[in-house]
Symmetry: C2
Subunit: 491 residues, 2 copies
């Protein structure tokens, strides 16, 4: 239990009409708090004058209370310094103390356990995070962002600190719409976009709106577990579809659609997560056509659009969505940082209205001060400049990692150079156990992820995923050396 | 459609291997974008050199594309200024344009409508907000908060900008626990508290965890509609319980409990929302005893604890929760501002674990930069000082409003002076229609709320609720004058 913060005042309930004298009520209140752990051994009590003023009693009443507690052994006084909780205090009755066990389990039925997503344990100091998908926070214009946030608080308080803007601050809606129209081939206005607390909330709202128990949702055989969990939460029946270097197998989707009613397909077509494949033009056309024909939704998760290095930008399915079958999800988590919870959903406006109505029930509104801050940084080009800079840095790091892998690991690994994204989907030689490599790597202080951890069926995949964006060249070289050392341990 | 933001580059997909010449592909891409509304009339296109560099084609190719489009009437050029989208452009085929209607409704079944909470329409300028329950943002130490946020970004980036801390930043958990232990008689540690995006998310997580379809949840007959909506979302069967000046009628709860299985009771015992009654000590004891005996949860929503003006502080049910039946909800929305989304749940740690697991699926984590900022302001007493200052200001405003009401409205209204809270629950004389008064008041540019809007049964109540916290004395006097004028209109 932490010591009471000095700036807080103690509160004790008193009843002047009771038969028990006030000084004893005060004494019992203090000893009760010591028993319950509100006051810990060695804590300093307020001076008698101060407590008396606060409780609106005569100072002598508090003096008497303290004297009683000193006599009973609850408090100890030093002449100059004040009155303190004794180091060893008498415990009155067991019944008055809330047993530790009870503080863990409720006195009512705790209800259904539900599905638990794994929480990410923080890495120990010194462990290199090469698991992938994390931006380099050191590149962020944090001084600018902080300065702007402060300005927003002072200049726009009434606009951002009250209730409202559940769909998102209008300036952020406009700035995001402009970005998406200019950069990603969309043609939307403010009625077709909703700002969420990151991709996770976007998935939760979309699934809540679209999925009824038993609905079939198709997912790529390797993918993003937190999304699957959300679909399952709403009772979806999940079926997996095979992946290859052109992305999701649309022939398989066509076969499923011929006999089953598909509610939605969840896909990451830009840099498929985790394999980094880009969905080919033919597959894109096929998927859009199937969705329109069979009236299912395509939930397009475009989580790292900005980081494309080679060749022309690949525009999202949403840019060719003439039949309005795409629900497009984006986020600033990779572009800025996961800690800035700014995601968005693009969809037909009737659906945006419905999603906003659900959002009101989930958390009422997003973080408006941050939203207006980000809007300004989009409007004046700060974020665009950051994106261009980060893109160059990450492209170079991708190349550096590939060179390091060639030097240090040679034919132990195989990979296609990804044209974008923040990780390399790395095949391991047939005599290497990818799962064992991950464990051995952690013992060498480098954290990577094994292919199995992305597989819906949980089965082994001879792959590891290596992230390069958040590490500079020295760190990447160090990480690869540690990987090589780990490999020696297990091969 | 907004004009493209100047700092963004245009993106067009090109296929060098196609039979169609590159300059025509470029021309078609631009005209297609004009048709779809990505480029609006009068927008300036990039210079030929810049676009050529971006598309990695010869400049002459872009010159040819622009010339083609000028010839066809899509673009217009002025000699010095550049090339612009023409004001009147030819439309190619209807099929290529996304009809406006389609952009509203999706090409798949939009799914169940669900319950819609009313969105708060922003008030027109000049309308005094006397609907109640809003803090005065002008009292906030916004410069300090902004400065601290900026410092957190620069000093603690790695800690607050990555993934993690789904339960809440550890320093905020500790600071809130210390505040609750010192000020509200709780005895908790970090394992018994979860930070949420405001009270709404707290309600959503708790209901999600506790309520299965058909479960009975008891609510006060007058109360907080967004909470009812959340219980209904999870299939609760809501039953109302009568209120009087001692709060919720626990005899009625005992009668219900004798024959039905109650899952939870949702209550605001400190300053009952909206009637401001304080739950009496006898009722508190009765409720806790019933909950332990019948094993139902008490969801205690202590939304404005700090603002108690008269007499001793009233400690929450959670401070006497020896049987671990209370799930305690708090928020900083009234203490700071609703725009700072910081709420919390206090519960036995096994339940906190489960709530955190659900939270991960809803939005993954809260706003960590803000959480660490707030933690620092709790630790160093800034928020405590603000609370003391606001309490004094609000107490004075309560008295001022009462004096104004007496002067201006006399026997038209009746009320008990609330010992705390941010509003006065005001009875209206029998010849006054409270609903009509609300409408007439808005026409006089003052917004208040009628009793009916808090009633679960939606029936008329001869009350209005008048908030005083966010308005200074001049504004309160003005508001009351407008109320009096409105009353003359309808009486």
């Amino acid at each position: 239990m932490t010591s009471p913060v000095k700036t807080w005042e103690f509160t004790l309930p008193l009843d002047p009409a009771a038969t028990e004298p006030l000084f004893l009520q005060i004494a019992r209140g203090i000893s009760g708090d010591i028993e319950r752990g509100r006051l810990t051994a060695g804590s300093r009590l307020p001076g008698t004058r101060r407590l008396a003023a606060q409780l609106e009693v005569h100072r002598n009443t508090v003096v008497a209370a303290y004297a009683e507690l000193i006599a009973e052994g609850w408090l100890a006084a030093t002449r100059a310094s004040g009155t303190f909780v004794a180091d060893v205090t008498p415990m009155r009755s067991q019944a008055r103390r809330v047993p530790r066990a009870r503080a863990r389990t409720p006195g009512f039925d705790p209800g259904r356990p539900g599905e638990h997503l794994p929480t990410a344990d923080p890495l120990a100091d010194g462990v290199l995070q090469m698991g992938g998908g994390i931006a380099d926070l050191r590149l962020l214009p944090l001084a600018t962002i902080g300065r702007r946030y402060r300005q927003v608080l002072q200049r726009n308080a009434a606009d951002v600190l009250g209730y409202g803007h559940a769909q998102g601050h209008p300036r952020l809606l406009s700035a995001l719409a402009a970005m998406l129209n200019d950069r990603r081939g969309l043609a939307i206005d403010n009625t077709q976009i909703l700002v969420t607390q990151g991709t996770q909330m976007a998935l939760d709202l979309v699934a809540n709106t679209l999925v009824t128990p038993g609905d079939i949702v198709l997912v790529e055989a390797l993918g993003y577990a937190p999304a699957w969990a959300v679909f399952r939460r709403y009772g979806a029946q999940i079926m997996t579809v095979a992946l290859d270097d052109q992305g999701i197998d649309t022939d398989e989707i066509a076969r499923i659609a011929a006999t089953r009613r598909i509610r939605a397909v969840y896909t990451t077509p830009h840099h498929q997560y985790p394999t980094t494949s880009i969905m080919s033009p033919a597959r894109r056309l096929a998927l859009l056509t199937l969705a329109a024909e069979h009236r299912f939704a395509i939930i397009e998760d475009d989580y790292d659009h900005e980081f494309h290095y080679d060749g022309q930008p690949v525009l999202p399915l949403a840019s060719r969505d003439t039949q309005a079958v795409v629900v497009y999800l984006g986020t600033l988590a990779k572009l800025l940082a996961p800690g800035f919870r700014i995601g968005y959903i693009v969809a037909p406006s009737a659906l945006i209205d419905r999603l906003t109505a659900y959002r009101l029930m989930v958390d009422r509104q997003g973080d408006l001060p941050l939203q207006l801050t980000i809007a300004g940084l989009l409007e004046d080009g700060t974020i665009a400049r950051h994106a261009r800079r980060a893109r160059k840095v990450y492209a170079a790091r991708r190349d550096w990692l590939i060179a390091s892998l060639q030097r240090a690991l040679g034919s132990a690994v195989a990979y296609a150079r990804p044209p974008g994204g923040m990780a390399i989907w790395t095949g391991v030689a047939t005599d290497i156990d990818a799962d064992a490599w991950v464990t051995a790597a952690l013992a060498q202080n480098v954290a990577i992820r094994a292919g199995r951890s992305y597989a819906y069926d949980g089965h082994y995949r001879p792959y590891i995923r290596l992230g390069f964006a958040s590490l500079d060249e020295q760190e990447l070289a160090l990480g690869v050396r540690r990987l090589a050392r780990a490999l020696k341990q297990i091969r």
